[in-house]
């Protein structure tokens, strides 16, 4: 009871600070860490700055855990809270000011700040940088899978296949045009042009995946749910073994040597675009048609909804983003093999979607971030990791069958709104 009261108090005071305040606080903490993190870590007898808030140390070296907690408290929690609450009046006024400006301006400001935090924070280690990028790619994949499995309610298993199509298409594009490559020979265009054409490469990857999605979408006009699961599964295996048989792209040995163009700003921008566009789509009446098709297709038809077009758009749209994510992934890990886009990857992606919550943008972000984080934290456990993660997921499914944060609208305007008014309304 008292715990609940305490929790309520914490929640209320946290809600009184607009997101702008928290972001500024986080930025200050990140800068602080960059400045004194190493010295502080040494003082606390830590070998280095804990890469992921010390979570990875939990199983690697539990004895150091109290020290990392202290480190987190000093570097993250206290400064963030201090700055957030200290600037509450100011940030609230700023939020109120932004409320009457176009939404995109406010959103852009917050995004820039978020990027700044990430940029500073990932300065500390290459590991952090890579984890952050992979998590952002996972967010894109989860969200796009949620469009098909959550918003449209089909059970599609072909996402790794779409991702593979995107990864290979984008890689072929960059390798042929911009690099001296074992498989494709000398570069056709000067390498300096490359980074400018990279968005085009990603777009081509996305479109390739979207075209592949047609193969799955067309049978889906005749069937629903179950059979589509098989068709999409078969599609995934087909993509995998088709790539294995195309020698020019390396066959089963895969394809490597992609230029490292998936830099933090690129991945961050792609993810922000992905979230923005998908959220726009699912909140529009055109996008809500997915829910209508899911909940009752006959009724959707009778209410003038073009169900075929809706299904096709959803499949191609979801696949497009999976393809883009695949392209980013290929240029991040810089070596892809067809075997990597298999059942294992499918299980991970499904886990993220169903853990985070169906039919929810926030849920997908939460699902992707938390499953990736848990996976990183449990890495020292070796194979026991694969006993713990499934167990967590089973428990979530039993107690919240549609996932943690399901069926939640993501309204940027409401999130960025100033908090004074919100508090008053609650009282």
């Amino acid at each position: 009871m008292r715990l609940a009261a305490l929790w309520g108090w914490v929640w209320r005071s946290a809600a009184a600070v607009p997101p702008l305040g928290w972001l500024i606080g986080a930025f200050c903490a990140a800068v602080l860490e960059l400045l004194i993190g190493y010295e502080l870590a040494i003082m606390l007898y830590l070998p280095k700055v804990p890469p992921l808030f010390g979570a990875t140390l939990l199983f690697q070296n539990p004895l150091l855990f109290p020290a990392t907690l202290l480190f987190d408290l000093l570097v993250y929690i206290l400064p963030v809270c201090a700055v957030a609450f200290g600037t509450q009046r100011l940030t609230d006024r700023a939020a109120a000011f932004l409320e009457h400006r176009p939404t995109w301006l406010a959103a852009l400001m917050h995004l820039v700040l978020m990027y700044a935090i990430l940029h500073v924070w990932t300065e500390a280690s290459a590991y952090r940088l890579q984890v952050s990028k992979l998590v952002m790619i996972a967010v894109m994949l989860t969200l796009s899978l949620n469009v098909i499995n959550g918003y449209m309610g089909e059970f599609s298993c072909s996402h790794p296949g779409f991702m593979a199509l995107g990864a290979y298409a984008a890689s072929v594009f960059t390798l042929v045009l911009f690099t001296q490559d074992r498989l494709f020979g000398p570069a056709l265009l000067p390498a300096a042009l490359g980074p400018f054409c990279y968005p085009l490469a990603l777009f081509i990857g996305g479109m390739t995946a979207a075209l592949g999605a047609l193969v799955v979408a067309i049978p889906s006009f005749r069937t629903r749910g179950d059979y589509l699961a098989i068709i999409s599964l078969a599609f995934m295996f087909i993509v995998k073994s088709a790539i294995e048989n195309i020698e020019p792209v390396g066959g089963p040995r895969g394809m490597g040597g992609q230029p490292n163009w998936s830099t933090l700003p690129v991945v961050f921008t792609a993810m922000a675009l992905c979230i923005w566009i998908i959220n726009n789509f699912v909140r529009s009446t055109l996008g809500k048609a997915l829910n209508a098709v899911r909940d009752n297709e006959t009724a959707a038809d009778a209410m003038t909804i073009n169900t075929r077009r809706t299904k096709m758009v959803a499949f191609m749209f979801g696949a497009f983003w999976a393809g883009v994510a695949g392209g980013l992934y290929a240029h991040e890990v810089r070596h892809v093999t067809p075997g990597g886009f298999g059942i294992q990857m499918l299980a991970e992606q499904l886990a993220m979607v169903y853990f985070g919550g169906l039919n929810s943008v926030v849920g997908s972000v939460v699902g992707a971030v938390s499953i990736s984080m848990v996976s990183e934290v449990l890495k020292p456990l070796g194979l026991y990791k694969w006993l713990v993660i499934p167990l967590i997921l089973i428990l979530v499914m039993i107690f919240r069958p549609t996932g943690l944060i399901a069926f939640r609208d993501f309204d940027i305007k409401r999130i960025l709104a100033p908090r004074k008014a919100a508090l008053k309304r609650r009282e």
Binding site: P219, D295, P390, M397, P401
Partner: protein, 309 residues
């Protein structure tokens, strides 16, 4: 292509078909009766094989200690029966832990739970038995017969014969017994049948038990032919059999068995004509085509399969 060569491959195809069909039956039964994807089934097959390994090793040790030399066929029969019995409990446990709490949940969630239990079985096995691969004891000696130029091993005959007789037994069980009737009724409409005195809490575990037992039998037969076991052996065979089960059509035992054999034939005959790396590509493409033009499988009837989110 000579006739002998053809027959040789038919026998190989029948052997692979037997594995697929035995596993597919389990998928198909759970799917028709509970409308669930039992994604754990491939790993139950793996578990069953390991249980079979344990049983066979135990029996060998026991008979060795008592100084009796049991004939190979008896040993095999005992191993299969005991392993089937033990593995059926694994199936019941999976149903109890993973599926029963989710009976009113979206079916997709139950599928995820099943997938996760499967992963736990794989890695649980790895954690308990370690990473080295285990060898299934050679309980029957290989004898090769030459029938008009076609080489047939006794193992292949045993595999196909046992698989076929198990399928026949299942068919008789479902068609002739009271329990089988209840299962058929349940697959017809599992909303209404519970009102008529048949408890789903009895039929569901039974379905899982029978499916798992068949998977265990399939696993032991598989181990006869390919004795090197590893914890991930269930994945590929499981997913392929799953596809075969759905291809057969909902509620059709015959369909699942036939689709299993079809898959075996495709997989054996494709590498004869094409490079062997094309095997999966062509097998799945054929499946995709079949499902596009016969969306409800060979023998399935159109039915509403809303995912009930």
């Amino acid at each position: 292509m000579s006739l002998e060569f053809l027959l040789q491959n038919v026998i190989n195809a029948l052997q692979w078909g037997s594995f697929y069909a035995l596993i597919a039956l389990g998928y198909s039964m759970v799917y028709s009766i509970l409308m669930l994807f039992n994604f754990t089934h491939g790993d139950i097959f793996m578990t069953g094989t390991y249980i079979g390994l344990g049983v066979a090793t135990g029996l060998l040790a026991l008979s060795g200690a008592m100084g009796i030399v049991l004939p190979g066929w008896l040993l095999l029969a005992m191993t299969i029966v005991i392993a089937m019995f033990l593995t059926s409990f694994v199936g019941v446990a999976v149903e109890r832990v993973g599926y029963r709490p989710l009976r009113d949940a979206p079916r997709a969630s139950a599928a995820i739970t099943g997938l996760m239990i499967g992963i736990m079985l794989e890695y649980g096995n790895l954690a308990i038995l370690g990473t080295q691969r285990l060898l299934f004891p050679p309980i029957i000696e290989t004898v090769t017969y030459n029938i008009f130029g076609v080489f047939v091993t006794n193992k292949k005959i045993v595999i196909v014969a046992v698989a076929l007789s198990l399928m026949l037994a299942l068919h008789l069980f479902i068609q002739k017994t009271r329990w089988g009737m209840a299962m058929r009724a349940m697959s017809f409409d599992f909303q209404v049948v519970p009102l008529m005195g048949v408890s789903i809490n009895l039929i569901a575990p039974m379905t899982f038990a029978i499916g798992s037992a068949l998977a265990a039998a399939g696993g032991i037969l598989y181990a006869l032919a390919y004795p090197v076991l590893d914890p991930f052996m269930g994945i590929l065979l499981g997913w392929k059999s799953f596809v075969a089960a759905i291809l057969g059509g909902r509620g059709s035992i015959l369909g699942a068995a036939l689709a299993g054999f079809l898959l075996g034939f495709i997989e054996v005959f494709v590498p004869i004509v094409f490079p062997s790396t094309f095997r999966d590509l062509i097998a799945y493409s054929i499946i995709l085509l079949i499902l596009t033009f016969r969306p409800y499988g060979f023998f399935g009837q159109a039915h509403s399969t809303q995912l009930r989110l």
